[in-house]
């Protein structure tokens, strides 16, 4: 199976670029554990896309409306690939999984569920998550699961831009004005206690061997790179330990329910309808 595309990540190339429909049509079927892993990755992307989508028409500058929408769109694309692939294990579609799972069935981490806050907080969340995703996908391209490897290859090109966007803003806000530095620091402080959850080895990842990337192995390289940017921006790495409940279960979060209430409301009012 070949989804691999060597085209530019920003170019819409017909036939070569991977799509959710191609994954569904490829006949590749995820086993139960792989599907549950795909849900972890897909739910993170979906929740963050949902959050970033709310910036459209509210960004500090028109160019930023375009940029944040673009990142949200990339993440939504990743979520569609991953949920489609996960669904092959249970005969479910991406929409079955996105719209008809309950709050406690999602596996997203709390970082991506956090409210947007001001631009500083959104950029803090972007910095952390895009750096984490970059490390993750750089390794997942070697997955022994061909579909996950292909998804990672496509996503990696896009995440490369996301981390550049976030880092450029962290520098501007950190070194810009007194107010921007204060707000950027407050943004980092606000989300930092949820960083640890990204690196927690939850099941089924521990059973998947070379199919998956073990989150704990991403901690050091991701944190090193984060520290570098934060220090370059004259900001401090928050000195705090991870919030309790780093298990992606949803039992330690209040945000997930609100996100889903809004996202699922229309689809659930018309079960079985085609849109």
């Amino acid at each position: 199976m070949s989804f691999a595309s060597h085209d530019s990540a920003t170019r819409q190339s017909q036939g070569e670029a991977i799509t959710a429909e191609e994954i569904a049509a490829s006949g590749a079927t995820a086993d139960e554990a792989t599907a549950r892993y795909a849900l972890i990755l897909g739910d993170d992307a979906l929740m963050l896309s949902q959050r970033l989508g709310a910036w459209v028409s509210r960004a500090p500058e028109l160019e930023e409306d375009v940029a944040l929408a673009n990142i949200a769109l990339d993440l939504l694309g990743h979520a569609r690939f991953l949920l489609t692939y996960a669904g092959t294990a249970w005969g479910k579609s991406e929409d079955d999984l996105a719209y008809f799972r309950e709050e406690e069935e999602f596996r997203s981490c709390r970082l991506v569920e956090q409210e947007n806050g001001d631009f500083g907080k959104t950029i803090a969340r972007q910095l952390i998550f895009s750096f984490y995703q970059h490390e993750l996908y750089s390794r997942l391209v070697h997955s022994t699961d061909a579909t996950l490897a292909a998804i990672a290859e496509k996503a990696l090109k896009e995440v490369d831009y996301h981390q550049d966007h976030a880092a450029q803003w962290v520098l501007r806000l950190g070194l810009g004005t007194e107010e921007s530095s204060r707000r950027m620091q407050a943004g980092l402080d606000s989300v930092w206690s949820y960083v640890e959850e990204l690196f927690t080895d939850v099941e089924p990842i521990t059973e998947l061997g070379d199919v998956a990337v073990l989150p704990s192995t991403l901690r050091e390289p991701t944190l090193n790179r984060l520290h570098q940017v934060i220090e370059q921006a004259d900001l401090s790495v928050p000195d705090m330990s991870g919030a309790h409940g780093a298990d992606r279960s949803g039992r330690h979060s209040e945000q997930r329910g609100f996100i889903l209430a809004e996202m699922q409301v229309l689809a659930r009012r018309h079960p079985g309808a085609t849109w």
Partner: protein, 343 residues
């Protein structure tokens, strides 16, 4: 002659010479401008142009840009609730396109010497106009379809002739915008098609949306020709190519077969084919409503403006930081360069 006079005389002569040169330039400029318009050719940013032409274009292009920006709100409010991930992705890309259109258009207006910041200020203060359709609410998912089909459809009919507008940067921006708008219209039509071929509830939702957006969409072409003071001059300058009423008729003729294909109806009992005219006849629109909305009393006029203002206000510190950072970097570069030269 006193030294004072001695100094003044040549200055006065120079002033007069300048004034005469300016008059000559204006005359030859006007001549050249008239020739370009008569040839149906293009005016470019560095060409001489009458002030009134410049002003009229800035008004039209910036209003168009503002419409794109405010237009992000009604549809943007459905991104979070889109009923499938595919529809969500399409809608997000569409609203993003609108931000992009705003950017092209503000840039085109900037080539006429008006900074983007000034145009933002006019929108912020409520002085600038934008298409009144965006002051109506997008209440249901079907409204997203109706906006795409009818509002973007009307925009295309309006904008295709603008691709030939005499001002080069505007015409070229319109070419790209029209290409994207035709995707937008298609996605709107597709949404309505899925709904009108779906469940009973979906079908009713689609019909209700068409009923609500039909009148306001027809009003997007502006007041009847008799009440449109700027149209004539704009047509003489080859900016506008057809009158409001001509474009409105063209639009009605276009959407009647489309609504039939959707299996829906348009909310106008007087709508019928006129063999003699070769066009559809349709009922007079509610122009009192139109002028009320134009004057800022649309259902959501205040909400749309407040949304824009709060985004602008809340983003001020970010823009200030970006400027401060750019200054800092350029100062550092200057210092590095000075050090290099010193070494």
């Amino acid at each position: 002659m006193s030294p004072q006079n001695h100094q003044h005389a040549p200055l006065r002569l120079a002033d007069e010479a300048d004034a005469a040169a300016a008059r000559d330039e204006a005359e030859s400029g006007q001549h050249r401008f008239d020739e370009i318009i008569a040839d149906d050719s293009r005016i470019e940013p560095r060409d001489w142009m009458p002030e009134s032409y410049r002003k009229s274009l800035v008004r039209q292009v910036s209003q168009h840009a503002h419409s794109e920006i405010i237009g992000m709100q009604p549809e943007g409010n459905w991104i979070s609730r889109a009923p499938s991930l595919k529809r969500k992705a399409i809608l997000m890309a569409k609203v993003q396109d609108e931000a992009g259109h705003g950017l092209y258009l503000y840039s085109a207006a900037e080539t006429l010497g008006t900074p983007r910041e000034d145009m933002y200020d006019q929108l912020y203060s409520g002085k600038a106009k934008y298409s009144s359709i965006f002051n109506y609410p997008a209440r249901t998912w079907a409204d997203v379809g109706a906006i795409g089909w009818l509002v973007d459809g009307a925009a295309i009919v309006n904008q295709v002739p603008l691709c030939r507008a005499s001002y080069g940067p505007y015409g070229r921006a319109m070419v790209r915008i029209c290409k994207e708008e035709s995707f937008h219209q298609r996605q709107g039509w597709e949404i309505l098609y899925s709904l009108s071929h779906g469940t009973q509830e979906q079908r009713e939702m689609a019909q209700a949306a068409v009923d609500r957006f039909y009148g306001p969409a027809l009003q997007m072409f502006g007041p009847p020709d008799g009440d449109s003071p700027n149209s004539q001059q704009s047509m003489a300058w080859n900016i506008k190519r057809f009158t409001n009423d001509e474009l409105r008729q063209r639009f009605v003729d276009m959407i009647v077969p489309q609504v039939e294909a959707l299996g829906l109806t348009l909310p106008d009992p007087e709508l019928k084919w006129n063999e003699e005219r070769g066009h559809y006849d349709f009922a007079e629109l509610d122009w009192d409503e139109f002028f009320a909305v134009i004057k800022g009393n649309g259902p959501l006029s205040r909400q749309r403006l407040e949304h824009y203002r709060s985004a602008r206000d809340e983003g001020a510190w970010v823009r200030e930081a970006a400027v401060a950072y750019a200054n800092r970097v350029s100062q550092e570069q200057d210092r590095d360069q000075a050090a290099l030269i010193g070494a």
